[in-house]
């Protein structure tokens, strides 16, 4: 009888909470999903001394590489630079306020990321949020940022194909260039260099799908014959059969639209199989300095990749690189990314300028300012169009390693060198 009574009581409680759940209200003042929060007056605490930037980053797990080597070193340097200058001047507080970081580890797990990001917002009451790592995490963070009315300046990740979906999240800004400008730039180069055929390898994820999906029709329209398309999983260990297939097609260009792990594997095996097409193109990671550290200047000579910028792009780029190098030259984990490094920093500079110009920590006002104004950043004059950084701001879309420099080879005024085609032979072993 005792057991039955326990069950009866539990069922009664269950019934009560079914009723309660039906009447559940949304959480404490948070705007409903899909709604833009009110741009109301921010509460000013005269005792507030710091501006807190926080959020969830992948300190451990499979994406830890990015925190260690990509955006991580950049936002930490930016914070130190701002604080060395006394902080950001916020007019409504009438003083300069240093930046304080409150970063949680999401262990490269999406559910942990969403939870930690909400913890930073609702429990720690951070003033501004940092973006999480990777495209998927960024897109999961966008609705959360929008719900709480927090500016989310994206860093590692993003996608051109999701522009329409992202449009419903006005607090999300993207600071990186993607396939919609990079693929046409690459196809222009191939066409100009009289490339007749190409072989495409892409990684089975959003990045690879998007880039190969854009490249295949663009190459066909340019009269370049796509002789083979192969997808590879992220954990591929051997690409010899794919390279053999590429060799058998005799394609002029080998386009490896993957991440560093797969790209470096393909490069290594191309060398060992002496596969040296006129164009050897590597996707993400091809413009990282780590490729030179691993393979050496002679091997990477002529390799192309997405990007792109270098110290010749502008005085601001050179100054930024020098500061970055001075700070991290002794850190073996930090890589110099000639695609995202300037974009991520420019995104932070935009947020900084927006806070100082609006003189408030009110995210709604900062968001509006970001969306409607021009900024002076490491990229020069910088602005956003539909929350995506304007194509005119890019330093370049395609780069090529030439004498240890990742040269910008777009057919545009921002090019720092002409392409070298065909690429040189692999150095003798």
């Amino acid at each position: 009888m005792k057991k039955k009574s326990v069950l009866a009581l539990i069922l009664a409680v269950l019934a009560v909470f079914m009723l309660l759940s039906a009447c559940a209200k949304s959480e404490t003042g948070a705007p409903q999903d899909g709604q833009t929060p009110d741009a109301g007056e921010s509460k000013i605490d005269p005792n507030k001394e710091t501006i807190v930037f926080g959020g969830s980053r992948s300190i451990s797990g499979v994406y830890a590489f990015f925190e260690q080597s990509a955006y991580g070193p950049i936002y930490k340097m930016w914070v130190d630079e701002v604080n060395a200058d006394g902080g950001l001047y916020v007019e409504e507080y009438g003083k300069k306020m240093p930046i304080e970081l409150k970063v949680y580890d999401d262990t490269s797990d999406l559910s942990t990321m969403t939870r930690m990001l909400e913890k930073a917002i609702v429990e720690d009451n951070v003033d501004f949020i940092l973006p999480p790592v990777s495209t998927a995490f960024l897109y999961a963070a966008a609705p959360i940022a929008n719900k709480y009315g927090k500016v989310l300046m994206g860093a590692e990740g993003g996608s051109a194909t999701l522009k329409e979906s992202i449009a419903q999240y006005p607090y999300f800004f993207s600071s990186l260039n993607f396939s919609d400008t990079q693929v046409p730039a690459l196809v222009d180069i191939l066409k100009e260099e009289d490339i007749k055929s190409a072989y495409i390898v892409f990684i089975e994820d959003l990045h690879g799908t998007e880039y190969s999906g854009a490249a295949i029709p663009a190459l066909a329209n340019a009269g370049i014959d796509v002789k083979g398309v192969k997808s590879v999983p992220a954990d591929i260990q051997d690409m010899t059969s794919i390279i053999n297939d590429a060799i058998s097609t005799g394609a002029d260009a080998f386009l490896c639209m993957t991440y560093p792990d797969q790209g470096y594997l393909a490069l290594n095996q191309s060398i060992s199989m002496n596969y040296n097409p006129k164009i050897w193109f590597m996707g993400s990671g091809g413009g990282f300095s780590s490729i030179v550290d691993i393979f050496g200047n002679d091997v990477v000579e002529g390799i192309m990749s997405w990007g792109a910028w270098n110290t010749k792009s502008s005085e601001a780029c050179k100054d930024y690189f020098d500061r970055f190098y001075a700070r991290y030259k002794d850190d073996p984990n930090v890589s110099y990314d000639y695609w995202g490094l300037v974009h991520y920093y420019a995104g932070l500079q935009c947020v900084q300028e927006a806070i100082e110009k609006t003189g408030t920590l009110d995210n709604a006002k900062v968001r509006d300012y970001l969306a409607n104004n021009h900024f002076t950043t490491v990229l020069g004059d910088t602005w956003f169009e539909n929350n995506m950084i304007a194509p005119e701001c890019f330093m370049g879309n395609v780069g090529q390693w030439q004498n240890g420099i990742f040269e910008v080879i777009d057919r545009s005024s921002k090019a720092t060198s002409d392409p070298i085609v065909p690429k040189p032979e692999w150095p003798a072993a």
Binding site: K3, L9, I59, L110, V122, A136, P143, S159
Partner: protein, 323 residues
């Protein structure tokens, strides 16, 4: 009336039901008096409780170690991704549960003739199979990898997970006390012997496998609305296959409340380490797990049972020693 008279005669009998009810009331009312993040955290803990109890419902009972939790959870996630804009949250959870049930039933019919490590490896294979199938379908037909999921407030998700959790607890208790539960126990102790005494072991296993997967799918459908963006790797993350197993080991699988306690303590330790010791989280977590398995082979519940047993023994010893 008979019940009331019984309680009047022995008021001590009221302690357990009142305690359980009070705890549930406290948990259910918690969104009204705790900080918002506590509600978010409790929602995650309830998800783990649901997964570990569901896992234990089949694997703990039969001894067949299934690593397919992520597969059924992922099915629920995709139900929310596909139907989120047209169905309410409870319907999404129901649909996620039904889809998972059907898939588990079909998979179980094919695989539950396998035993031991072959079954375990096969269930892990199901996770990868569904992950790769979704990846292929998304890339081929959707031309992208991930998709947004309609989002619900954490209070709504909390209450529906709370209801699901109570149902899973009740179901776990109920199954243990039925002939069906007894059949599962017989299978665990000797499947051939169970068949000899007339238990249709294959059908019993298939049914238990499918029933346990229902809650996994429903939990996946609810949690997807908190994640807001998913792709096949996120939906079918093998973490969700292994974590419930660890939680059951941590809490102890012999008692219904073992997985529950394991999930709560496990999730709390995880949270504490992530937030306060992010750079040593994995190391500290690994050490805690190794130490727990070495020194608590029957989980936290086993330790409690041990302590209670020793106290009773000591009391009994003193009584016997009295002249």
């Amino acid at each position: 009336m008979k019940l009331i008279n019984e309680y009047k005669a022995n008021p001590k009998k009221l302690i357990l039901p009142v305690l359980v009810a009070a705890l549930l009331v406290l948990l259910g009312l918690s969104p009204n008096f705790t900080k918002p993040y506590a509600t978010i955290m409790l929602g995650t803990i309830m998800m783990y409780i649901i997964l570990s109890l569901s896992w234990n419902m089949f694997s703990g009972a039969t001894g067949y170690v299934s690593l397919a939790t992520a597969a059924f959870f992922g099915v629920g996630v995709y139900v929310s991704a596909f139907f989120g804009s047209s169905l309410s949250l409870p319907l999404l959870m129901l649909m996620g549960g039904i889809f998972s049930f059907v898939i588990a039933f079909l998979v179980g019919a094919v695989t539950l003739r396998l035993r031991g490590v072959y079954f375990t490896i096969f269930t892990l294979g199901i996770v990868k199979l569904l992950e790769q199938l979704m990846l292929y379908l998304e890339i081929t037909f959707n031309k992208t990898r991930g998709r947004f999921v309609v989002s619900y407030t954490f209070t709504e998700v909390f209450y529906w997970l709370f209801i699901l959790m109570i149902l899973v607890i009740l179901l776990s208790v109920f199954i243990k006390r039925t002939r069906f539960g007894l059949a599962l126990k017989c299978i665990a102790e000797g499947e051939d012997a169970a068949m000899h005494i007339g238990i249709g072991s294959t059908m019993v296993k298939i049914l238990a496998f499918a029933i346990s997967s229902f809650a996994m799918g429903a939990a996946g459908a609810a949690m997807a609305t908190r994640w807001t963006y998913i792709d096949p790797y996120i939906a079918f993350s093998t973490n969700l296959s292994f974590l419930p197993v660890l939680m059951v080991i941590f809490g102890g699988g012999r008692h219904v409340f073992g997985p529950l306690i394991g999930a709560v303590v496990f999730a709390y330790i995880q949270e504490l380490l992530i937030t306060d010791f992010p750079y040593v989280y994995m190391l500290a977590f690994g050490v805690i797990m190794i130490v727990s398995i070495i020194f608590m082979p029957n989980g936290i519940v086993g330790v409690i049972e041990n302590i209670v047993g020793r106290i009773k023994k000591a009391k009994g010893g003193r009584k016997n020693a009295d002249p």
